[in-house]
Symmetry: C2
Subunit: 202 residues, 2 copies
């Protein structure tokens, strides 16, 4: 263990979270954003025939499109729409997978305002059809990613809806979720974490 | 049967397909487009807890966004991207569902150029994971919609890739697919058609 001039112990965490100019959080150990890490993982899953999971495109309301001569259509006016579902879904050896990925700068809790009520409704509907739903949470300060199964998430959401706390504490997430370990390939093996979680519940 | 002045027999088909000004094909008997009919059906499936199936948003590459004071962000420059997957997916009582919907004005065949090779690749990958994939084809002239399972579609795609015919004939589609009957609710009950098809193959 090396001690640095400021007297604090050096940990890899110190090297990690740096804001980029465009205010994206850099997903430190990998030199990529959280979203990029998920995309890379999904590419790995497809290439290795493990699963077929994609991010849905950002929903956009297109108002005006120009068709310049000899070049492709240009959208000149459009607006962001509120997504009606989660961002990711797909199939993993016969199982329907549906999840949302969220990032927080908070150190000790995940604010539930990060989720839309209709995303919770959507996961409820999918779970009722037998799908596997969960939330991936990136604590950017710690550069840690947790998988929280929907059946745990809904407990905290219901508490919030009934006037209880507006967030899930990191301690609760550590208890009910599972930390996704850092790996080289795939970058963020959330399906392995999911299996581990499911096995531990059997 | 009523004979009309032009000497041709009257059928309901004559009343059906009319072009709208915006060149969308009106999905006649329902007074709605093919896509709207699918959307309505998916809404019905969700409301009645039959399935959770959504259309994916159109993929768009966003280049320039303005943030005017006190109003929401406006996308000022964006381009359409080629979709890397099919348009629709979701879950139906434990089964992962993945399909593409296409319309043709042709009377006697469906041109395979309507599909992108990567959409076929995608359905191949999903089918390998145990998902149920198919194509919905709307013959706008006849206002008939057929469901063609992927395992049949791939036969005709392979024929095309090997230099054979570039389309699937309506006769082939009638043989290998299933006509989705018109109904009031749900508008286009493709899951019922799917069940019928699967039962007939058992």
């Amino acid at each position: 263990m090396v001690n640095y001039p400021n007297g604090k112990k050096h940990t890899t965490k110190d090297l990690v979270t740096t804001r980029q100019k465009n205010s994206k959080i850099e997903y430190g150990k990998r030199g990529m954003s959280f979203e990029e890490a998920i995309d890379k993982t999904n590419q790995y899953y497809i290439t290795h025939q493990i699963a077929v999971i994609h991010k849905k495109p950002t929903p956009v309301q297109i108002v005006k499109v120009d068709y310049p001569m000899r070049s492709k259509a240009v959208i000149k006016e459009a607006y962001f729409k509120t997504p009606s579902t989660t961002d990711y879904n797909g199939i993993y050896s016969g199982h329907h997978i549906d999840f949302e990925a969220k990032e927080t700068h908070n150190k000790t809790s995940f604010p539930l305002q990060n989720l839309h009520p209709h995303q919770i409704d959507h996961m409820n509907q999918v779970a009722a059809q037998g799908g596997i739903c969960f939330l991936l949470i990136h604590f950017s300060h710690w550069d840690d990613v947790y998988l929280l199964p929907f059946n745990q998430l809904i407990v905290y959401w219901d508490r919030y809806m009934k006037g209880g706390r507006k967030s899930i504490t990191l301690t609760e997430i550590k208890n009910d979720g599972i930390l996704i370990p850092y790996e080289y390939l795939p970058r963020l093996d959330y399906l392995a974490a999911l299996n581990l979680k499911r096995e531990s519940e059997d």
